[in-house]
Amino acid sequence: MFDFIKARINQGFQAIKDLRTARPPAEFRGLPVIGEAECPNGCFKCIDVCPVGAITVNPVNVDLRKCIFCPDCRLKCPESKIEFTNDVRMGATRTESLVISRDNRAPVIEADNKAGSIFKRSLKLRLISAGGCNRCELELSALGNVNFDIGRFGIDLVTSPRHADGIVLTGPLTANMAYAVEETWSNVPMPGIVILCGACALSGGLFAGSPVLDRSFLDTLHVDLYIPGCPPHPLTVANALLDFLGR
């Protein structure tokens, strides 16, 4: 009894009060900004060092579908043209807005009125890890912990696809998971929503081009929400979901 009271008092109140304005520490590598400096002639250092081929030059673009938010391009650039900010709002409903340039500074989420009208107050999602390395999985599970407490918005991860309103896919979609992904999706009641979470799911990420992937599942259906990151910060996921639902 005394142990319980001591532990409870020590725990106190740990939730982040406002997920919409909260920011991770300044060291966090989130949304990149492309600087105004001119690239030196014939410089491809950022392209050479990028392990996922997310960068193009002239003009400099960073494709957030592929970007794994490592510091290598920032460190190699002689003009510090690519800088990462601690801005976590990176979810998008259309892939075009995920290519960051001088003109397109941030991805855009258009609130989905149809999904919003059904799921605004209660959204249950089934996570499918199709080759995920456990980072996306851990961050999605952290979303439900006492700090982020996504449950306060009626959003939860559930066990059965039959109880789910949609699926969250992580990982590059391995060939060995292709069957299980389709089976799970076929058990979600329609209209189900599809969310891709993390660079692997968005583009194959580091494993793009590996012969043991099978991404054909994505050819057949409409993806409702893209959440970039490696892994996406829980605040990125929370804000993307809330924007998508129009809350």
Binding site: D3, E27, I68, N134, N145, V212
Partner: protein, 495 residues
């Protein structure tokens, strides 16, 4: 008895130094050495010229802090007599060898697929594995899409009523082709790939890779860089042990534990973020050193967070391990004995929870641990309680280690040394103790300094069998708790 090369963790040697044995001799020696108490670190084959296969064995001699290496060629008839019947710890290594090279270990008890790699020699596919039947008991199938946020893997529980007789674990669903991706592109540029082998073991894998590249290019790190790596490795350990304790608490409905350990982990990984820019430590370790040093502000922040973790875990540990309701679920559940650990070749935290001090920080020291002598903690009961207790004790130990290093003041020296060209025709084996246990990488370079073969063995490759052994005789309802206490990685196994 044949010749074996004595090597050390993270010391490169020439390929011509590796003795070449006849396969029968290699097999005989392996069985003998394993019987004498050595452990298998690597056992793999790679395709050579004209359909021949070169088989490499690396064993760890923990009493002598050394590694033994030998090779054998198999030509024309790709088979040999399986060693698994005599030494069970080789069962998965032999299955992997068969799947990757087509060499048949004859009389292997069960050559079911390891990862079902496309183009592999295993004839059966992952969705239709050969099923082992005990002829009667009922089966509970679980996976590959499992509990809410778990990675994908399949468990078939063979039960009599509510009692589990055995679990047939089938993995491979997360297979992304990591090893073959090492053989393409710039070998210096693989740090990001390594950090994704197992997303929760970022520092350990990145260190094993970086240490191998450094050994092959012959550069020595500054003490500052080594210390930064060790701090990050211990932070990773604290964070993931907290995650596991939170999972065990949630698994038995002990909510104060689930929430307190959970929020403490948030504080620890946010300190990792301040060191590296990522909550999991991505973008810190690179061949040649570390990408960012630690400023005094960050150092003070980390020490402050560790004070909080130290203080608050003491309170919640007292509640968790002092509560009779909790102990009735944890004690005596999923027991594994030291004899089983040896037999199945289990390592790391699972070995330590049965009283066997297997820890590469002590047995095969690397980096800072070479100078700073490390003594592993052990607990002896081998049940879920032991696997929870050892994590609580290791959190305490890691906090002490980080505090000590931060007060050493080894803050001078370069963060990064530029790696040079890799030595041609060499081999290196590196071992790093991640939070689960040892992770080991081996690199073989060719005549043009290119990476000819890259081998990764994650802790989970050794340890999944432990779960099947521990679950024998427990009730089905205790299985999720038992699984949680092992806290293993599917993608580390599947690569």
């Amino acid at each position: 008895m044949g010749k074996w090369l004595t090597a050390k963790n993270a010391r490169a040697f020439h390929r011509r130094e590796i003795p070449l044995l006849h396969m029968d001799e290699l097999a005989k020696d392996l069985v003998r050495f394993l019987g004498e108490g050595l452990r298998v670190v690597h056992f793999y084959g790679r395709a050579g010229v004209e359909g021949a296969v070169t088989i490499t064995a690396v064993l760890a001699d923990d009493t002598d802090c050394s590694l033994l290496v030998s090779e054998a060629h198999i030509k024309s008839v790709l088979k040999y007599t399986s060693m698994t019947v005599k030494e069970h710890s080789l069962h998965l290594f032999e299955r992997e060898l068969y799947e990757q090279t087509g060499v048949v270990p004859e009389r292997h008890p069960w050559l079911k697929p390891v990862r079902s790699e496309p183009g592999s020699h295993a004839v059966v596919q992952i969705n239709k594995p050969p099923l082992y039947s005990t002829g009667g008991p009922h089966e509970v199938s679980w996976g590959p899409v499992r509990s809410v946020t778990a990675e994908s893997g399949h468990f078939r529980l063979l039960c009599r009523g509510e009692e589990i007789l055995h679990i047939a674990i089938q993995l491979g669903y997360q297979h992304r082709g990591v090893e073959r991706l090492f053989r393409t592109g710039n070998p210096m540029n693989k740090a990001s790939l390594v950090e994704s082998i197992a997303g929760d073991t970022v520092i350990a894998h990145a260190w094993a890779y970086a240490m191998a590249i450094e050994a092959l290019s012959g550069i020595t790190l500054s003490k500052k860089a080594e210390m930064m790596r060790s701090v990050a490795l211990e932070l990773e350990r604290i964070a993931m042990h907290l995650e596991c304790l939170s999972g065990i608490s949630a698994g038995i409905g002990f909510l104060p534990g689930a929430s307190t350990y959970g929020r403490l982990r948030t504080a620890v990984i946010d300190s990792m973020l301040r060191l590296s820019g990522c909550r999991f430590g991505r973008g810190l370790v690179r061949p040649g050193g570390v990408l960012s040093g630690v400023g005094s502000g960050v150092r003070e922040h980390v020490l402050r967070v560790l004070d909080v973790v130290d203080h608050d875990t003491e309170i919640i540990n007292a509640y968790l391990f002092g509560s009779t309701g909790v102990l009735s679920r944890l004690e005596g559940t999923g027991v594994i004995t030291p004899a089983q650990v040896w037999e199945a070749g289990l390592v790391g935290i699972i070995a330590k929870s049965t009283g066997l001090p297997l820890d590469s920080r002590a047995d095969q020291p690397f980096g800072v641990y070479e100078k700073d002598h490390f003594t592993p903690i052990t607990v002896s009961s081998g049940d879920v309680y032991a696997r929870a207790k050892i994590r609580a004790l290791e959190i305490e130990q890691s906090i002490k280690i980080i505090r000590k290093w931060f007060h050493y003041g080894m803050m001078i020296g370069e963060n990064m040394m530029e790696p040079t060209l890799l030595g041609a025709g060499q081999m290196v084996v590196t071992m790093v103790e991640g939070f689960r246990g040892e992770v080991s990488h081996a690199i073989i370079t060719g005549h043009n300094s290119e990476i000819e073969y890259y081998k990764v063995v994650d802790t989970s490759f050794h340890n999944w069998m432990g779960l099947a052994l521990a679950a024998r005789g427990i009730g089905i309802s205790d299985f999720p708790l038992c699984n949680e206490s092992f806290g293993q990685s599917c993608c580390g196994h599947d690569l």
